[in-house]
């Protein structure tokens, strides 16, 4: 052993960890990820690719109307046409951009509202915390789908109001989660040290607390995204979501739902409304796989070898 026998501060035991860049750590974790997580990543990757490059990938226009409505599957219209003669395959691809884009925007907005208020409530405590928490309780007591339908009828179903309404309703859940995980961090000495230094609320929120509660928030982001996605699809199916001619998977299911009854004559016709539904289901499952893996990793329950 070459270690010297005298004491020095730099030589204290405590350097077992090898230094790795963030990218190396990510690669290492990915290599250990289970097959379900990989499946999730690949599916999400494909969806994002389609959503980003939809105008290049789609063979026809989003609202381009052809002569034959309800055309069968063939070489020109891979998945046939819908009730007014629009190419289903193209609308499926454009639908990815619209549905995923709107769901993503909504989730981000709900995290901005819910996360911000949740952090503020956790750090400040007192009457602000009480006020916000009770207000959230009231909002959560009303069934959110019915509340959303009501608000959409009042404000009209534009994409903007759709995003705002769902974001506000969903932010209640984000608020509760953020507040409860942040409260565990606000009692730490380093937060007290920051307060003693005279730091403002914004700094404590962003720099001291947020980095330490990221893992549960990221996991929640995935789940929230799935739920928002399903809510938008449900609202569209009910006719109050994304309005025509904008392509969207929820309304595509509704528009073509009647084709299911032709299953005994042409199985492909019955499949047509099922495909957008399957697209919704697949993405939800994929996001959940990834979230599961991430939660398992960050919860520290997997430390056995």
């Amino acid at each position: 052993m070459s270690q010297s026998n005298a004491y020095s501060a730099t030589a204290e035991v405590g350097q077992l960890r090898e230094r790795r860049s963030r990218w190396e750590t990510i690669k290492l974790e990915l290599r250990k990820a289970p097959i379900s997580a990989w499946f999730g990543f690949i599916v999400i990757g494909c969806y994002l690719f389609v959503a980003l490059f939809s105008p290049l990938l789609a063979p026809h226009g989003e609202a381009e109307i052809f002569k034959t409505p309800f055309a069968p599957w063939d070489a020109k219209h891979i998945l046939g046409t819908d009730q007014i003669g629009r190419d289903v395959f193209s609308r499926l691809i454009y639908g990815a951009t619209n549905t995923i884009g709107i769901a993503l925007a909504t989730t981000l907005l709900s995290f901005l509202i819910g996360g911000g208020l949740g952090l503020a409530a956790a750090i400040t405590g007192g009457w602000l915390d009480q006020l916000l928490s009770r207000f959230v309780d009231v909002l959560m007591a009303i069934p959110s789908l019915i509340f959303a339908l009501m608000l959409l009828t009042i404000f009209g179903s534009s994409i903007f109001s759709l995003i705002c309404i769902i974001a506000v309703l969903d932010s209640t859940r984000v608020f509760r989660l953020t507040r409860s995980v942040a409260i565990n961090v606000t009692v730490m000495d380093y937060v007290e040290a920051a307060k003693l230094r005279g730091e403002k609320l914004g700094w404590i929120m962003r720099r001291e607390i947020l980095p330490n509660i990221m893992p549960p928030l990221i996991a929640e982001f995935g789940l929230r995204f799935s739920f928002v996605f399903l809510t938008i699809a449900a609202l569209s199916f009910l006719g109050l979501g994304i309005q025509p001619p904008t392509a969207d998977w929820g309304s595509m299911v509704r528009d073509n739902a009647s084709m299911i009854q032709f299953a005994k004559y042409d199985i492909t016709a019955a499949m047509t409304p099922m495909i957008p539904a399957a697209a919704i289901a697949l993405l939800t499952v994929a996001v959940n796989f990834v979230v599961d893996w991430f939660l398992h990793k960050t919860s520290g329950l997997n430390d056995e070898h």
Partner: protein, 552 residues
């Protein structure tokens, strides 16, 4: 009377069955243990030999990370999750534990080998009564019937000086104090009359006054039943009271092994000597009339109702160190919270350089905040785990002194140098540092503000002794070079000796006395000061024996 007889017969019984005092009980040869972390196997214990005879107590000491606990557990044939015993032999009473099956080892644990953990509070099941937990393994392994075992447990409670020995076992873990719980755990370990007990830092989490009680009880009972024991600790004074011989570990290797007295008087190795020198650290006391902080008639309460401070008066002279001592719950940390403004006092005031400080934190100016800095007991939780060392030290620089870019970077390196760390620490995160290094970074963060006063709240009590010495020397040097005043909160008298000029003794939220170190540390004492001073273990193997004799 009944109970004493009972014990005596048991004692002779067990000696008859299990062999004579002096027989070899545990023999470990060339034990290597690896631990898995960070995607690799690391050597934790690198070929240690160990021989323990019946009735002997071995002290195992070393700084954290030396492999003490791992070796202690290996003596039971146990490796923690993530560790494995790679090679070597562990023979317990003729049985090879490295080759024994899980069931064979299970039969030994709790009946012939027992383990006393550091944190008793975390080791008891809160949902069961204490006596049921005490006798559980004894009854399960069929050594005694339930009634016999419970009667025996009550006798053990009595011999461990637990109050109301007849009924205390019917309580739940949260209904007894920490020191009592630690003695309960010793009773639990003793219940089956094991051949070997492993004590893993059993008194580290206790107050000095409580520690004495637990030590006396543990030593008595180990002697009475002729049990062999391995006592793991980093407190040299404690191990001197408990052990027949001492083994020093470092980096998973044995440094030195010798009989206790010999080890204390003439250690051979350089490293052992440096361990011993810790307690030699003292500071010549000086006083000053230039008072930087004065606490005047302060009463404080939590939630406006529970009053915890009663009429506190403390003066902190400039460039000097005032140590605030007292057991936990005496209001030491609350006093610090009043000074920093985290807990506004009900009445009274805090003067800083003769000016009254606003009571609440939010009313104080940036300049007032900058002048008083604080260092915490747990360096782990005092630093944000997601910030690098440069961010942690750099923040006060940009916040108070508007430094940025190159100037900030240079100043960070300068501060790192000042706390005896080098530039390789610049972009590390706290989890990559040892306990002592973390505390140094906390000191650097306080220094970065360029304060007049630093409040140190038990800053060394979570650290090993050799690391403690390093930190204390650093603080002393910084005081000499920069003229900072310290308010040093501690319950460790050795630390007080090392660092303070003046001492404030606190008890139950009130100041018992304040004065120069030499005045407080010499008679006549108020009653409480005397108890506190007497409870501090000394580096003399006869200290505990003498203390017990004194009391009788």
């Amino acid at each position: 009377m009944m109970s004493t007889d009972n014990n005596d017969t048991k004692n002779t019984d067990s000696t008859d069955e299990n062999g004579q005092k002096g027989d070899i009980l545990l023999e470990m040869r060339d034990v290597h243990i690896d631990g898995f972390s960070d995607e690799k196997w690391h050597h934790i214990v690198k070929g240690v030999d160990l021989t323990l005879r019946r009735g002997e107590v071995m002290g195992l000491i070393g700084e954290s990370g030396a492999g003490k606990s791992t070796l202690g557990l290996a003596a039971m044939g146990f490796a923690q999750p993530g560790c494995k015993i790679v090679s070597g032999t562990i023979k317990f009473d003729g049985m090879e534990l490295t080759k024994a099956s899980e069931n064979e080892k299970r039969a030994l644990w709790g009946s012939r080998i027992a383990y006393v953990a550091q944190s008793a509070a975390a080791s008891f099941n809160p949902a069961h009564r204490l006596i049921d937990q005490t006798v559980e393994s004894t009854v399960n392994s069929g050594i005694r019937s339930l009634e016999e075992a419970q009667a025996d447990a009550r006798t053990l409670y009595a011999s461990l000086q637990l109050p109301d020995a007849e009924n205390i076992g019917d309580r739940y873990p949260h209904q007894v104090s920490g020191g009592q719980l630690q003695r309960m755990m010793t009773a639990m370990a003793m219940s089956s009359r094991p051949d070997l007990i492993i004590f893993d830092e059993p008194t580290t989490a206790l107050d000095v006054t409580t520690q004495v009680e637990v030590l006396v009880a543990m030593r008595d009972i180990v002697e009475r039943f002729n049990t062999a024991a391995i006592y793991i600790t980093h407190d040299l004074a404690v191990v001197a009271q408990m052990a027949d011989f001492i083994k020093v570990l470092r980096y998973g290797n044995e440094v030195e092994e010798a009989e206790t007295r010999q080890m204390l008087t003439s250690p051979k190795e350089e490293y052992t000597k440096s361990l011993w020198s810790v307690r030699a650290l003292t500071k010549p006391e000086e006083t000053s009339d230039d008072v930087v902080i004065e606490i005047k008639n302060v009463d404080a309460a939590y939630g406006g109702s529970v009053k915890v401070l009663h009429d506190i008066n403390i003066k902190l002279p400039r460039g000097r160190t005032v140590a605030v001592v007292g057991e936990s719950g005496s209001g030491k940390s609350t006093t610090a919270r009043v000074i920093t403004g985290l807990l506004p006092p009900m009445t009274g005031e805090v003067l800083f350089n003769g000016e009254v400080l606003p009571k609440a934190l939010k009313d104080r100016s940036k300049d007032q905040l900058q002048r008083i800095q604080m260092i915490y007991q747990m360096a782990d939780t005092a630093m944000n785990p997601r910030h690098t060392i440069a961010e942690i030290i750099g923040r006060p620089l940009e916040f108070y002194h508007d430094l940025s870019g190159k100037a900030k970077q240079d100043r960070i390196l300068e501060l790192l140098h000042l706390i005896e760390l080098d530039q390789t620490f610049y972009d590390r995160i706290p989890s990559e540092l040892s306990g002592g290094q973390k505390q140094r970074v906390c000191i650097a963060r306080a220094l970065a503000a360029e304060p007049d006063v630093i409040i140190c709240d038990e800053v060394t009590s979570a650290l090993d002794q050799i690391v403690q010495e390093g930190i204390l020397q650093l603080l002393l040097r910084l005081q000499r070079e920069l003229g900072i005043s310290y308010l040093f909160i501690t319950h460790d008298i050795a630390t007080v000796q090392a660092i303070s000029d003046e001492i404030v003794v606190m008890y139950q939220g009130a100041v018992v006395e304040q004065g120069l170190k030499s005045e407080i540390m010499s008679p006549p004492y108020p009653e409480y000061t005397q108890l506190l001073l007497k409870s501090v273990p000394e580096m003399d193997p006869d200290w505990l024996t003498n203390l017990v004799d004194d009391r009788l």
